[in-house]
Amino acid sequence: MKYYVGIDIGSISTKGVVIDENNKIIASDYIWTNASPIDASKRLVNSLIKKSKEEWLNNIYGIGTTGSARKLIGKIIGATSIKNEITAHAVGTISKYPDVSTIIEIGGQDSKIIIIKNGVVIDYAMNTLCAAGTGAFLSSQAKRLGIEVKEIQDYYKRANNPAKIAARCTVFAESDMIHKAQIGYKKEDLIAGLCNAIVENYTNNFIRGRRIEDKIVFQGGVSRNSGVVESFKSKLNKEIYVDKDSHLLGALGVAIISKSESKGDKVKLNIKDIEYKIREKECAGCSNNCQVVYIYEEEKLLDTIGNRCENCKTNI
């Protein structure tokens, strides 16, 4: 049996899966990125290896990375496929729900909609420039209210009178929350209002002007929060599917992509426990002035990201 690894390094969390030839997840993990993708990937890979059984660890034929740190980690780990998260999510979800037509995805700092027809992506949109209405906001507000992100759903269930909170902009939403708290709203009502605001923001940004058809699958870290799921259901008035691995579908997708791109060579899953240094510099090697990220394995230059030619490697 051949096995494939998919790693999704997001802004907030890092996810990893190991699948077999039938796209079945046989090991997975989910940890916080803590703004340090290299560290998180080290921990993730080591924990996957720890969970491993001999059989799959020696029979890996592809490693894929996705998420916003996919290039950096892909180079460090020697990935065979590096794919953007939109495609990865679509592939992952279609493999589990072949009849899906709408994917709602809300992650740590971005949110997207993917429209699928007959198993082919025909339209997508992703938030630009601003991270309002994403997981980062939920977690920062939870912290401000002194509760755990995981507890948000319990509070949501208890709310009878959700506060109305502005959805357009995170900063305005926060002022709204403070005002409502000061006039005596209960914590659960504030939190329910917050969940509704996330949904409101999403529908304003993405659903406007699009036809949302069944089947709808909701994924990304925020989909683990049943408060937001409930709020989506009542807003769209449609059934919404949340997979039990909804937070892993990006990693699953890129594992499947690495399977299809595999050239049939065995690869080794490991990440050296040494220090990787990152330096960003504007290269002056030619008139392109690329903003180049240099990755050093201890003192040795491992690779570069963002360069358009090879001049930057000789011209440090």
Partner: protein, 355 residues
Amino acid sequence: MIIVSYPNIGEYERIVYNFLDKIIDKSKCKILRPEKNNRKILELGEENSPTNVCTPFKYTLGSMINSLNKGANVIIQIGGGCRFGYYAQIQEKILKKDMGYDFDFINLYNGNKLEFFKAVKKAKILNSNLKVQSLLKEIYFIVKLLRFSDNIITYIRDNECYIDDKEHLKKIKNMILDDMLKIKTVNEISLKNIKYKKEIDKLINKKDGKLKIGIVGELYSLMDSFSSNFLEKDLLKKGYKVKRYTTASYLLLDKNKMQKNLLNNSKLYLKYKIGADGTESVAHTLELINKGYDGVIHIKPFGCTPEINAMPILKKISDDYSFPIMFYTFDTLNSDTGFQTRVEAFIDMLEMRKK
């Protein structure tokens, strides 16, 4: 000593240099070529511009500040088009009143009108013996040169995906860039034109079905690769066929003639001109759909009003023809990860659709 400079856009500063080189009095005046756009120029422009103004304003202002710091004392700027009509005026105020630079500012456009005689008068700073007749002759030459370089570069862009020998192509490109600085006569232009066309035709060795992608949107982002994160270069490098209509010769020489035609071609969607290049964005997208392109990427700097006008119309076109259009707005962001992600996903989508 008079040191004259001008803001940059794409590779066009070469042509401006060539033109100035022919009209200045070299005993009293020299030319400072502006640097290509880079992070330093953007930062200079950003620091001294109103926050919400669009990025081309910041780039051009930064470029001028950079030249002034290097010792320029005459700056030439061209206004025209959208709010760009007042760009030169505002930039002059920022540079002189806010920042205290002392220099001569030659603005060729007032609103949307070329002020030819005023410009001739001002040009006397550069050469006191300059005759209108010889100026006209040089303008005739430079128009020819602009046409030649735009045509040949567009020809390369249209065919780059069919050429395997990229090294050779790069050499030809560099030779053309060199020529933009060096060619001095109209005769040379026509000779070179034939020569390059032949050389390029020899390199074309295949005609297979690559993804065809059009780029439309705001002119500065389209023509200056740094300000659009090298979108066009990257797409070409990946081997896709890329079509872009907007060039300096189109804007300066053909635009007025074409407007009626463009409106007519897009009359289902447009009744009036929607300012600057908005009309073009719509009409060219329709044209690309008719030509069987796979998708269009629409780019604009943050706050570009004409392109904001075009966007809902483009969305409607995208729905009506179920034709993929990707929208992206550039600002002074440092990281291009988000942009790369969206472009990659868009291309994946086009490829999936094609299968």
